[in-house]
């Protein structure tokens, strides 16, 4: 029963919150450019409008093209189940999944998205797939090393177990731990790489020289496009959740149990997500898009940060610095 409640709450929060992140980022960007910008809830309207529209499907495409949006959307939501929004809700038994399968589920969605890019016979789709293949290949080692190190610190590869460990140990000043700081920076870089944000990819452009994610889904329309966009938004929220709940745990500060405790916990989670969203928006405002072949430098940066975190953990012999 708890498991079903967990799944429902998890999925509802992801579904409801994900489009808001994009709205907030757009609003902040518009604000710095002295524009009014679209309403914060614009993406909800867009999604609702898109699913009521008819689709145009390319003549050259096959069933892969039509299956891809559903697979991308459902893999995002399935991956979301492995990243609890609040520890308070996690059932007493473990969730059957760890970070390796988390990465693998997202890879399934990406595989179909890249294949769909090639399916229409359009040059844009192939270009997007080709670039996505490069970026994802570069990001994957950092993600694995980063989560592996966090797992070593916590003694488990399951994401929920890691979060539980972090919050149990987080009574002291968690940000004073160098390994955690390094992991935080590495994961933040990975979020930008994985969610097609500005130094890597510009989500608001349709210029063939720069687009990556948009190029892959260029042919999509109607409900297929809605699913693709929604899937991408959920994936972005998953990574933000991973960052805030793993490396900035908050549940240890809430004594209250039961429904009240869960609600307070969710509220704090929500605030943390907003803060990280603002940080991402600020990064997006203050950087320019990198040249495609400068992306390896960013990937190397995040890899080195996670590698240093591992070294730090390793040199301290697994000890956890507690400054009280």
């Amino acid at each position: 029963m708890t498991y079903i409640i967990y799944i429902i709450v998890q999925i509802m929060i992801m579904l409801l919150l994900a489009p808001l992140i994009n709205g907030i980022i757009k609003k902040i960007k518009a604000f710095t450019q002295k524009r009014t910008g679209p309403p914060i809830l614009q993406m909800y309207y867009d999604l609702f409008k898109l699913i009521r529209k008819n689709s145009v499907v390319s003549e050259a495409s096959s069933w892969i093209y039509k299956a891809a949006p559903y697979i991308v959307f459902s893999t995002s939501l399935t991956a979301a189940l492995l990243v609890p929004v609040t520890i308070k809700l996690v059932p007493s038994f473990n969730i059957s999944g760890d970070f390796v399968i988390f990465v693998s589920i997202l890879a399934l969605g990406r595989f179909f998205m890249m294949a769909a890019g090639l399916d229409t016979g359009s040059t844009f789709g192939g270009m997007g797939s080709s670039r996505e293949a490069m970026i994802s290949s570069l990001a994957e080692p950092s993600i694995l090393v980063c989560l592996f190190t966090a797992g070593l610190i916590a003694g488990s590869t399951s994401l929920d177990q890691m979060m539980m460990f972090m919050q149990a140990k987080g009574q002291g000043i968690i940000l004073m731990n160098p390994a955690i700081i390094l992991l935080f920076l590495a994961l933040l870089t990975i979020i930008i790489m994985e969610t097609a944000r500005i130094p890597i990819d510009d989500p608001s452009t349709h210029l063939e020289l720069t687009m990556v994610h948009e190029a892959m889904i260029l042919e999509y329309s109607g409900r297929h496009l809605a699913l693709m966009e929604y899937g991408a938004a959920i994936k972005q929220l998953i990574f933000i959740t991973l960052l805030v709940n793993l490396l900035l745990p908050h549940d240890q500060f809430i004594g209250a149990a039961g429904l009240g405790g869960i609600l307070i916990s969710l509220l704090i989670y929500f605030l943390k997500v907003i803060v990280i969203t603002v940080v991402i928006a600020l990064i997006e405002i203050n950087t320019v898009k990198l040249r495609l072949f400068s992306i390896p430098n960013l990937a190397a940066l995040s890899f080195i940060l996670s590698f240093l975190a591992f070294l730090q953990y390793f040199l301290l012999g697994g000890g956890y610095v507690q400054l009280i």
């Binding site: 559903y70 999944g97 293949a133 994802s136 090393v145």
Partner: protein, 680 residues
């Protein structure tokens, strides 16, 4: 001995293959009959073998001993011993061979009247027989003989389509490289014999001093590494696998290169014993390098079978990584982690045999249907061969280690063994292991990219040439064979515990322990590495959740979306209105970002030449991109060139052509040998 005893099944299987190969040779005038009879015999024989090996694994801890020829001389003793390790490799062999033989019924039908089908099946069956012997021989001399036989028979199969000169060259490279490897193996066996005075593989190696053991290990590593295609000894693999007929490539890549894994476990872990941790570390390094570079080179190829051959190098790298972790952990006395890593390694061996076998069969289907292996000439095949396309998609997902297929399980176990190794270990190899994690990640992501390219360029989009236009669905037997393989891949992915249990039992004889206490679950696998928590996954749950979410989203779209009409229309062409198949992304274009980033590996060069018209409006433009393997150019080529120059120079001083000189050589050799014999 009753007829139901399963060691008789193995004897029967060997007999069937032996008779079958002779029958095939006899029937070479009747191609169709020969095709059916030979494949029927191999399917029956391998089914017996599969049954016998499962019985052996499940049955008990004692080994089966068979002997073909006994004599009092120490080395002329052809003995076979089947323990758990042999049985699990025999099982891998039989699973794949059943499918490949089913596939061959359809595939070889295109050879009727063109090639000697009888000869083909003679070689095919003898090749399988030689691999059965490799997995079962308990005597180093016998092992050496069948190892050599396997190399020669596969050489004949590689050059089977010998009218093309590149196939003959590939065969020559293969036979040279494999003999270099075999030479090292022979040296290792001889050194070991000089101390123990026995060729028994199950004997004791206590008489060998530690220093000599190190030398023997290096010899075995070089010998088996060549067969495994480990970088930098891999250069034969991307030439030999594409040259052979596709069903043979499936066997070569699926099983033959796995004999190296078997050899390393049998000779090093079983016979020599693991004393030095650096043995494992060396294997880990080779594994990491092979995994990353193998798939990076696969990304650059445009010949479908060469892509698969390089991908085999990558997967052998992952297998070796697991094996190295196992060797290191065992050398440090960490039995639990060692066994977990060994199971991960053998499981990935099984998985790779299944999905890579399937992919080579898929490549064979593409070749059968289109007559070309060049990925740039394909496209749109999913509409012409929907079943083959679906099956190749399944194998592509499996090789990219994506849930819910079996490739993921192997990678997960390898990752868990590295995790446990780092968490429990107090040794300085942790930095190497974290690089192993990064290598697994990079190789996994590049493999996904490589197989999106493989699948996307050849099966999706618009047909790029007449080859693709004229394609039709292949004969049913070929799709059935691939379907069985895909089904096994999926079921191992969903019910991994069955395979893990089998391998755990199989490795019992080797390590004398079982990790089943640590691994639990029905649908799911959970590995209790730590005292208080478990790491668990369940592909079945993930798959179930995926399906439920897809169904729910379809339902939600129906409720919210209202009336829905889907219109088919041309791909958006920017108003250009002349979009054609040549404007699609090519495979070369697809891999360009990776080629640029890792240019140190590929040394890409490009050439552009224009013809006719003015400089600004030429009539034709020719643009070629070339990438080369650094290993071939900077290691092998200089050596080969030097060797050729040197041998040309010394040719006339040694090989004078004068018979008296040759007689002198023989005489001197005899004297030296006699002198050596009397002094020692």
């Amino acid at each position: 001995m009753g007829i139901l005893q399963f060691d008789n099944y193995i004897q029967l299987c060997i007999l069937l293959f032996f008779i079958g190969s002779i029958i095939a040779l006899g029937l070479n005038k009747k191609a169709r009959l020969c095709n059916y009879v030979s494949n029927g015999i191999s399917i029956i024989a391998t089914a017996l073998l599969a049954f016998a090996s499962i019985m052996q694994i499940m049955g008990g801890k004692d080994v089966i001993k068979l002997s073909l020829l006994k004599s009092t001389l120490p080395f002329i003793r052809l003995e076979m011993t089947i323990d758990g390790l042999s049985a699990i490799f025999l099982l891998i062999l039989s699973l794949l061979t059943i499918c490949v033989s089913t596939y061959s019924i359809g595939y070889i039908s295109s050879y009727y009247g063109k090639r000697n089908v009888g000869l083909f099946y003679f070689l095919y069956m003898s090749f399988i027989l030689s691999m059965i012997f490799v997995f079962t021989s308990s005597n180093a001399v016998f092992f050496y003989i069948v190892w050599e036989g396997m190399a020669l028979l596969s050489y004949f199969l590689v050059i089977y389509e010998s009218e093309r000169s590149e196939n003959r060259q590939a065969g020559t490279l293969y036979i040279v490289m494999t003999h270099i490897g075999t030479a090292f193996l022979l040296i290792g066996i001889m050194i070991s014999y000089s101390y123990t005075n026995s060729f028994d593989l199950f004997g004791s190696s206590d008489a060998i001093p530690a220093g000599a053991k190190n030398v023997i290990f290096i010899m075995y590593l070089l010998g088996f590494g060549t067969k495994a295609g480990a970088i930098p000894l891999h250069i034969w693999l991307p030439y030999a696998h594409p040259a052979a007929p596709s069903n043979v490539s499936a066997l070569m890549s699926g099983i033959m290169i796995k004999t190296a894994v078997y050899g390393l476990i049998r000779f090093v872990m079983g016979f020599l014993g693991l004393q030095e941790a650096w043995w494992g570390i060396l294997i880990i390094i080779i594994g990491i390098v092979s995994a990353v570079l193998g798939v990076a080179y696969a990304m650059m190829e445009t010949d479908i079978k060469r892509i698969l051959a390089y991908s085999s190098v990558e997967n052998m790298g992952i297998i070796l990584l697991g094996l190295g972790v196992s060797f290191t952990a065992l050398a440090y006395g960490n039995l639990l982690v060692g066994q977990l890593a060994l199971i991960a390694s053998i499981l990935h061996t099984l998985n790779h045999a299944l999905f890579k076998g399937g992919l080579f069969l898929g490549a064979g289907s593409v070749h059968y249907a289109t007559g070309t292996k060049d990925i740039e000439k394909l496209g749109g095949l999913i509409k012409k061969m929907p079943i083959s396309a679906l099956l190749v998609l399944c194998f592509s997902l499996a090789v990219s280690s994506i849930v819910p297929f079996n490739g993921f399980i192997g990678e997960w176990l390898t990752m868990q063994s590295i995790f446990a190794s780092v968490a429990h270990g107090k040794h300085g190899i942790n930095i190497l292991l974290i690089l192993g994690v990064a290598a697994l990640g990079l190789a996994g992501a590049l493999a996904a990219a490589c197989f999106v390219r493989f699948f996307g360029i050849s099966f999706l989009g618009i047909e790029r040439s007449e080859h693709a236009l004229k394609a039709e669905e292949v004969p049913r037997s070929m799709n059935i064979a691939m379907g069985i393989l895909a089904l096994i891949c999926l079921s191992i992915g969903i019910f991994p515990l069955v395979a893990i249990k089998l391998i755990d039992r199989a490795s019992y004889g080797l390590l004398g322990s079982s990790i089943l206490d640590q691994i639990q679950g029905g649908f799911l696998v959970s590995w209790y590495s730590m005292e208080f928590t478990s790491n668990r996954i369940s592909s079945f749950e993930i798959l179930a959740v995926l399906v439920v979410i897809i169904l729910l989203s379809l339902l939600a779209l129906r409720v919210l979306g209202g009336k829905y009409i889907e219109r088919r229309y041309g791909t958006w062409d920017c108003g250009f209105e002349a979009l054609n198949s040549r404007m699609q992304y090519t495979a070369t274009g697809f891999s360009k970002p990776i080629r640029i980033i890792f240019r140190i590996l590929f040394r890409p060069s490009r050439k552009r030449s224009t013809k006719g018209g003015t400089a600004y409006y030429p009539e034709t433009i020719e643009y070629t991109v070339d990438s080369e393997s650094v290993f071939e150019k900077y290691i092998y080529k200089p050596v080969f060139v030097r060797a050729r120059i040197w041998s040309r120079r010394t040719k006339f001083t040694v090989q004078t052509g004068n018979i008296h000189n040759y007689l002198t050589y023989i005489f001197i050799t005899v004297i030296v040998l006699m002198a050596y014999n009397s002094f020692i």
